[in-house]
Symmetry: C2
Subunit: 560 residues, 2 copies
C-alpha cells in the first residue's frame, strides 16, 4: 500500500546525501573527533568570503526580500549592531498569527507524507547550501549578537551546521530502525495468517521555535532540523534583536522547498518586535504541539506549564567551577579567564562561581593559599582584558544594554576585586564593551542567581568537599549547563563525577590549553542534559527526536 507522495528528484537527493548522513551517525555513535563542516575560515573559497561581506553590506538598510512567504506588512526590526550601535534597518514581512498557523497546517498535510528519506535528503542539501553563505551569516551574527568575528563565523556557521547534521543523523537512526513495511506470516496449521504491516512515523504536530538573541543560529538549528526531519512544519520566531542570521537559513530552506515542488511554508519566519511580541499568542495556539526555546527561566517555566505541548527548553543556570588541586595554577587561570571572557560571558556555558577552599589548594609546586589562587585568576582576567588584540577577539561586544545594568547591579552587591570596565575596540569606537567584573561573593543568595554577562565570582568554601556539595546543590536546584572541576586527585575526581552525574550535570575535569568548558562539540558532546533545571532537552540525544513523532501502524490482512 503506497502511503506517501514520492518524487524522483527528491529521491535522487537522498541517495546523494545518504553516505554522508550514515557517516555522521557513525560519528555520533563513536563520539570521537569528527565534523561535517570545517571551522577554519580558510577552508572555504576566498570568493565566498568576499561575496558574504558584500551581501551583508548590500542587505543593510533594505527589506529582506529573499523569503518565499506572504506578509501583510513589512516590519523594520529592532536589530542594532553592538559594534556600530546603528540600527541594521532591515525590514521583514510579517503576517498575523492565524495566517502563519494556517500556512503551517497546509504544509503539514504535504510534508508529513513526504517519505522521511526524501525529507532528510532535502535537509542535508539545505545545510550544504547554507555552508555557501557562512560568511554572510557570520557578519549578520556579529552585528546582531555582538560576538567577535571568528566566533560569529564558527558558532553560526560550521558549528551550527554540524549540530544540524547531527540532528539529521540521529533522526536517520531513529527513523530507519523500524522498516517502512513488513510481511508478517504465521502458520496456524489448518490456516495461515498473512498480514502486510506498514509503519509510518508521524509528527506530533506543528512546531514553534523561539530563538534567542545571543545565539540566533546555533541554538535554533538542532530543534529546527529535528522537527523538519520528522515531518513537522516549523514556525520560527526569532528574537526581535537577532533575526537576520537565521532569516538567511529560512530563505535557503524555502527556496529549496519550492525548487522541489513543496510548500515553502514548511518553514516560516515569524518576526515580531520588542514593542509588540507575538510569542505567547503563537505558543498558546492549540495547533502548536512542539516548542523549542532558549532563554530566560520565567518564560521557559510559562512554556513548560502550557497544557498539551512537548517542550525542548534551555533556560538559565548557575555554572560552577571547583578548584580542589592543580598541576599548574597559571594554566588553569588562563583557561578559566578565557572561558569567563569569551563573548563577554554571554554564553549559557560560561563559568560564574569559582569555589575555592579557604584552606588553599595543592599544586605540583606546593600549596597555594586561597588568596594566591584568587590573585592568579584575577591576573589572568586582567591580562586578557588589557590585551589590545585578545580583548576584541575574545570578548566581542555586549548584545544589549541590560547586560551592563545586570553587571552593575551585581557589582553593587559583592566585594569587587576588579571592576567591569569598557575596553576600546580597535575597529569600532562605538562598540558596547565590558570586561569581566571579578569579585568575591560570600552570600549564598547572590551566588545562586545567574548573573549573565562578563563576570567571575570567587566563592570561598571551607574545603573541597563543601565546594562539591555546593556544586551538587546548585545543579539540582538552580540548574547548570557547565561544571568544571580541577583536581589532580583521582579518587576525588571519581567521587565528584558520581555525585554530579546524579545531579544531572555535564562535568569537565582539568580543562586547560585549547579546550574550554564553554564548548560542546557536535557528534561527541551532549549540550545540556535535560536532567537539571537549566534544560529539559539535550543536543542531541534520541529523545530530542523521538519526542517529536509517533509510529503509526497499518495492518492489511491478506489471509486469516
Amino acid at each position: 500500500m503506497e502511503l506517501y507522495q514520492r518524487d524522483d528528484r527528491r529521491a535522487v537527493l537522498w541517495e546523494q546525501h545518504k553516505p554522508r548522513i550514515e557517516e555522521a551517525l557513525r560519528a555520533w555513535q563513536q563520539r570521537t573527533y569528527w565534523f561535517a563542516y570545517p571551522e577554519d575560515t580558510k577552508a572555504y573559497p576566498e570568493a565566498e568570503a568576499s561575496a558574504g561581506e558584500a551581501d551583508f553590506k548590500a542587505q543593510l538598510g533594505r527589506p529582506f526580500d529573499r523569503l518565499r512567504q506572504g506578509g501583510r506588512r513589512w516590519v523594520v526590526s529592532d536589530e542594532v549592531s553592538p559594534y556600530t550601535r546603528e540600527a541594521l534597518g532591515i525590514s521583514y514581512p510579517q503576517a498575523d498569527v492565524g495566517e502563519w498557523i494556517g500556512a503551517a497546517e497546509e504544509a503539514l498535510r504535504v510534508w508529513r507524507w513526504v517519505p522521511w528519506t526524501e525529507r532528510l535528503g532535502l535537509l542535508m542539501e539545505s545545510v550544504a547550501r547554507m555552508a555557501k553563505r557562512f560568511f554572510e551569516i557570520a557578519h549578520a551574527t556579529m552585528h546582531t549578537t555582538g560576538q567577535a568575528w571568528m566566533m560569529a563565523f564558527q558558532a553560526s556557521g560550521p558549528h551550527a551546521a554540524d549540530r544540524a547534521v547531527e540532528a539529521l543523523a540521529v533522526a536517520y537512526g531513529e527513523l530507519s530502525h523500524i522498516p517502512e513495511a513488513a510481511h508478517w506470516e504465521r502458520d496456524f496449521g489448518r490456516s495461515k495468517a498473512v498480514i502486510d504491516k506498514y509503519f509510518s512515523p508521524q509528527p506530533v504536530g506543528i512546531s514553534l521555535h523561539i530563538g534567542v538573541s545571543t545565539f540566533p543560529v546555533w541554538n535554533v538549528l538542532p530543534g529546527l532540523y529535528a522537527s523538519l526531519a520528522v515531518g513537522s512544519p516549523v514556525i520560527l520566531k526569532p528574537h526581535p534583536r537577532a533575526i537576520y542570521p537565521i532569516a538567511i537559513v529560512v530563505a535557503i530552506l524555502q527556496e529549496l522547498f519550492e525548487e522541489y515542488r513543496l510548500p515553502s511554508s514548511i518553514v516560516q519566519l515569524a518576526v515580531d518586535t520588542v514593542a509588540q511580541p507575538v510569542t505567547r499568542e503563537l505558543a498558546e495556539h492549540p495547533l502548536i504541539k512542539l516548542i523549542d526555546y532558549t532563554g530566560g527561566n520565567e518564560f521557559g517555566t510559562y512554556l513548560e506549564a502550557l497544557p498539551g505541548k512537548v517542550t525542548f527548553l534551555e533556560k538559565a543556570g548557575v555554572n560552577g567551577v571547583l578548584i580542589e588541586s592543580v598541576e599548574d595554577i597559571e594554566a588553569v587561570a588562563k583557561n578559566l579567564a578565557f572561558s569567563a571572557s569569551l563573548y563577554s560571558g554571554q554564553m549559557c556555558t560560561a563559568p560564574q562561581n569559582v569555589y575555592i577552599p579557604r584552606e588553599g589548594i595543592k599544586t605540583a609546586m606546593g600549596t597555594l593559599s586561597y588568596k594566591e589562587v584568587v590573585a592568579a585568576l584575577q591576573r589572568a582576567i586582567e591580562d586578557l582584558a588589557a590585551h589590545p588584540k585578545a580583548a576584541p577577539a575574545i570578548l566581542g561586544a555586549l548584545q544589549n544594554d541590560t547586560v551592563i545594568e545586570r553587571i552593575e547591579r551585581l557589582s553593587a552587591q559583592v566585594q569587587v576585586l576588579r571592576p567591569a570596565t569598557a575596553y576600546v575596540h580597535p575597529q569600532y569606537a562605538a562598540a558596547r564593551t565590558l570586561t569581566p567584573v571579578v569579585a568575591e561573593v560570600v552570600e549564598e543568595t547572590i551566588a545562586r542567581i545567574e548573573h549573565f554577562g562578563p563576570r567571575l565570582l570567587f566563592v570561598p568554601v571551607d574545603d573541597a568537599r563543601e565546594g562539591l556539595l555546593r556544586l551538587y546543590q546548585d545543579a539540582r536546584e538552580k540548574g547548570m549547563l557547565s561544571c568544571a572541576i580541577y583536581s589532580t586527585d583521582r579518587a576525588f575526581r571519581q567521587e565528584a563525577a558520581r555525585l554530579l552525574i546524579e545531579a544531572g550535570v555535564i562535568v569537565s575535569f582539568n580543562f586547560r590549553g585549547q579546550v574550554f568548558i564553554n564548548q560542546s562539540v557536535a557528534f561527541s558532546d551532549f549540550h545540556g542534559t535535560g536532567a537539571n533545571p537549566a534544560s529539559n532537552a539535550s543536543f542531541t540525544d534520541s529523545s530530542f527526536l523521538t519526542k517529536r513523532f509517533h509510529w503509526i501502524e497499518v495492518r492489511d490482512c491478506l489471509a486469516g
Copy 2:
C-alpha cells in the same frame, strides 16, 4: 574512570542472555513473526502445569509471604474470583507511602550505578524465571480478572513476558548506541588536546506503576521492565482487586536481586484497598518522577496534569469498525463477534461501534442491505454466546459488578437488538457472566462514549465516507486503541489509511480467520500510538525508553 559498581556474577548473567536480547532487538527491527516465549501451554513441561495449580491452591486464604520487603501490617486484599465469587483471602504486607519512597530512594542509589549490561542480564533472567511460573500466574490471573483459562495463560504468561523482553531489547538498542567511554583527540598543530569522555545513562528518578484490574501483568510488564532497565526503581501499585498475579512477578525479581547482592527494594509491591487507596499520595510525591498507568480517563487526566512527572498512560477510547465492502460477510461477522466477545469485551482493544452504510455494502455475492449486515453480525454473536464450549472459553467472566451496571445503563439508552444475558458456566455455577448486548445507536453522544464491557453497537451512516469521517473524529477527539476497516476497494483502503494515520490510530484492514483486531503482538505490532487521546505512549517504541533516562557526560581532559 570507573563510575560503576561492577559484579562478576552479574556480568556472567549478561553474557548468558546477550545473544537472546540481540535476537529480540533484530526481531523488533524486522517486525516479522517472532516470539521469545511460546504461547501454547503444551510447550511447557507438564510438571510446571501441575505445580502451578498446586501453588495457586496452596496460596488461597494465606498471606503472600514470598516478598522480600518489609511491612507495617498485613492487609487482606479485595481480590474476589469472578468465577467462584469467593474472596481469595490473600493478605499482603503493606507499608506507609514514606517508607516505600525511602526504600526506593536507597535502591536508586545502588541500581543507577549497576552497569546497564548487568541490569539487562538480571532482568532477562527474571523473565526466564517468571516463565517457570506461568501456570500459577495464569490461575491467579483467571481468578482475579475473570479471563478464561487460555487467555489468562497467554496474556499474563508468554505474551506479557514477550512484551517484557521487547522493552529490554529496545532498552538494549538505546543504551548501546552511545559508548560507555570515548577517547577524543584533536591536533591543534602546536598542541594536542586529549579528552577521555564518559557517557552515563541515568534514570529520571523513581517510577510509580499503577496497575489495572483486567490485565494486571500484560499492561504492567512493559513499563516495569523499561524503568528497571534504565536504572529506575519501581514502586508497583497494583489494582486492589488484581494483586496476586503481579505479586508473583515482584517476588521473583526481589529474590533475584537479593541473590545478586542488590537491594530487593529495587522493585516494591505497594498494595492498597478499594476503601483506602494510596495512589494519589504516591503519585504526588515529589520523588516520583515516572508514572505508568492503565485505566480510566479521569484519573489518567489527573496524572497527566501533575507537574514534574513523565507519564506513560493508556486511557479509554472508543474503538470503531467500518464496513465498506467485504468478500464474505459471514467470515467478517464471525471475526468481529469473536473480537467483541473475547473476555466479554473487557479489552481496551475490543470493538464498540460498527459503522454500517445505510445504503448497504458490496460483497462478492452482490449488495447486502444495512439490515442484512446487522443481521449477520447479530447472528454471529448469538452463535458464539449460545455455544456451550465457545462461550466460557471466549467470554470468560466479568471482572466486577460495575461492568454489569454499565451495560444495563447502556441498554436502557439504545435500540437493543439482542439483550445482554448471562450464560451458565459449565464449571463455575457462580461465575459472573454476561453475553454481549447488541444494539443500534443513532445518537452520536452515546456512540462517542466508551461502554467498557460486552457490547457491539451498530451505527448507521449515510455512506462509507461518512463512516470514515466518524472514525477520524472519534480517534482524534475521543481516542482509539483499535480501528478495523473492511473494504475490498484498494483506493478506499489507501485513503482510509492516510486519514486514520493522521488521526494517530492503528488501522487494521480486513481482519478475518485467526487474526483479531484485539491482538497486538510483541516485536511486530505497536500497542497504542501515543498520538490520540487513548494513550500518550506506545508498547514499545523508542520513546517508551528514552523518556525515562538522560545521558550524562563526563569529560576528563588529559592534555589541552
